[in-house]
Symmetry: C2
Subunit: 344 residues, 2 copies
Amino acid sequence: MAPRDPDRRAGRATSYDVAKLAGVSQSAVSRAFSPGGSVSDETRERILEAARSLGYRPNAIARGLITRRSNLVGLILPAMASLYYPEIMVEITAEVARRGARVLLITVENPAEVRAALEQLWSFQVDGVIAATAMTAEQLEDFELHRTPVIFYNRAPPHHAGNSVAVDHADGEGRLVDRLWQAGHRRFAMITGPDGSEVAQQRAAGARATLERLGGCITAVTPGDYRYESGIEAFGRLWAGGEQFDVVLCANDAMALGAMDAARLKHGLKVPEDVSVAGFDGFNAGRWLAYQLTTVRQPIGALAAAAVEMLFARIEDPDLAPERRLFSGEIVPGRSARLAPSGG
Amino acid sequence: MAPRDPDRRAGRATSYDVAKLAGVSQSAVSRAFSPGGSVSDETRERILEAARSLGYRPNAIARGLITRRSNLVGLILPAMASLYYPEIMVEITAEVARRGARVLLITVENPAEVRAALEQLWSFQVDGVIAATAMTAEQLEDFELHRTPVIFYNRAPPHHAGNSVAVDHADGEGRLVDRLWQAGHRRFAMITGPDGSEVAQQRAAGARATLERLGGCITAVTPGDYRYESGIEAFGRLWAGGEQFDVVLCANDAMALGAMDAARLKHGLKVPEDVSVAGFDGFNAGRWLAYQLTTVRQPIGALAAAAVEMLFARIEDPDLAPERRLFSGEIVPGRSARLAPSGG
DNA sequence: CACCCCCTTGCATTCGAATGCAACAAACCT
DNA sequence: AGGTTTGTTGCATTCGAATGCAAGGGGGTG
């Protein structure tokens, strides 16, 4: 007996405490707090009153144990991506909160950490996961084993027809190239992503395919690591390479700004008179007066909303068919590269 | 009877399943997974083997229920701040993960949402909270009632001697002003934060105090809302106001970049020849070649590490005295405003 | 007035892991 | 050899809320 240690429990009223104060059973308290629970209005009122006076909040941990719903959603972001796209995180947490759940956030510095991240998520019994990182086939199998839905963000699931939301990178870059071409650009240079970056490969592939169709050519290619500084360095390499080019396609906006700054401030070029620069993503800084970057904007709000919506649909019904939702990037004309009017 | 529904539980092995396979009791399994549990090496080996073959992971929810430690840390960020300082978030999550816990992330759009955020955190039984938002005295009391530690990030706790980590905003801005003064700046204009922003007030107060001591003056003041665009607008107002100034102190870096762009691109001024600009925070974009902003850098890594360290110390021992840890900002000389050498 | 039905309510059990206690074995001491 | 210590192990209970089942009460109908 001596069941309760009041010291340890200070401030943490339980459903039993509320029940005693309201003169009802614990079950009644539970029902008063579950939507659709069978309680009379009068009793519910009395219980809520008692709960208020005790500062009672249902214990989500205990509830999760019995209902097998933790109301937690795992969000795995590469540390880098969360630096460049905080909007993703903000949008997703807001969207998840709107559905009454909360986000368990994990940032990973490198792919090796994904394993540990997943183990933690399993142990917290997350109801679902949104992942913006790569995953091995084995890890993906774990999701099926646990019958836990996962939505990949801007990334195709490996070896499988899984769930994902993404921008159509190839299409977006392709349309961008098309309009650059029609505005008169002929010689294209590229600053690509790091080796193994799927997203950068798709963007590059889109550019290549379109240029092939148009009969254009890529005169120089050099890789970057997505950071501003690497845009500077990459532009330096392109310039030193001696190949001619009238436009630089960059795998993302941050490198594009680096390339612009390098062109203007280190090499004395005018943008876009001497060389045009285009990016991809549509992040905030690209719109700043000093840049006004021509780019392809990702509809981040729509992506985030779709990811969360797909996830919850599959939490409700685990047997829904896998789905791959593609969104179209929006061409954003800026002053860093002239485009043909969109009608053309 | 008919105790387990294998379908619903697919892939979710429990300690009982592991126990049965390993031929031991459930307690033994529990002990094999708790550091310092009393099990022989041989038995532990057999249990871990069985656990591995079943893909067993201890259920953190159930564990939390009995141990009263959820291993969850609440992180409350204003949506705005997480846009401008994603580093904070990345640093904190990494630091928390290093200690074996995980972050429950909540972003709030406005102060009114803080209440709901806290309720959710209580119901998830978080072990502690790091908050970068304002809080009412009543909300703060709740923390004491729940005996849950909270660390305020860059923000003094209201009405109380609570825990916080912060940059010494007044001191940093003061030292910046001092060095601007010594480099010859005399007439100071200010772009402050929005009404009610404590942080901006402290920064402004630091500037005022130092200028009073030096006998300088502030010739014009206008508020901004911390966003780049508002820096542009604010600079426009200062310029239209007709007061003379040779330097603009901005309450943060984003507005400082806006002010620089406005000065150079909208008003045809040279920075720093015609007017100097200084910011506060030290965020990445300020170092870009196009800006090279003179500013005061917050030691974000140190702040985050200190916040997490203080939090866990108080989770271990809730009776630790409240502490207010102040960090010194680092003056970062850039090209947007000339500074006297630091020796002076 | 008798009967039935529905709405409320409480009892008892359940979720999965941690832990105090007692039981037991092996090893050690004298 | 007998007694004791040390180290493992299992049993039973606990955490806080949800829920199936049965009991109770009120209202309605024939």
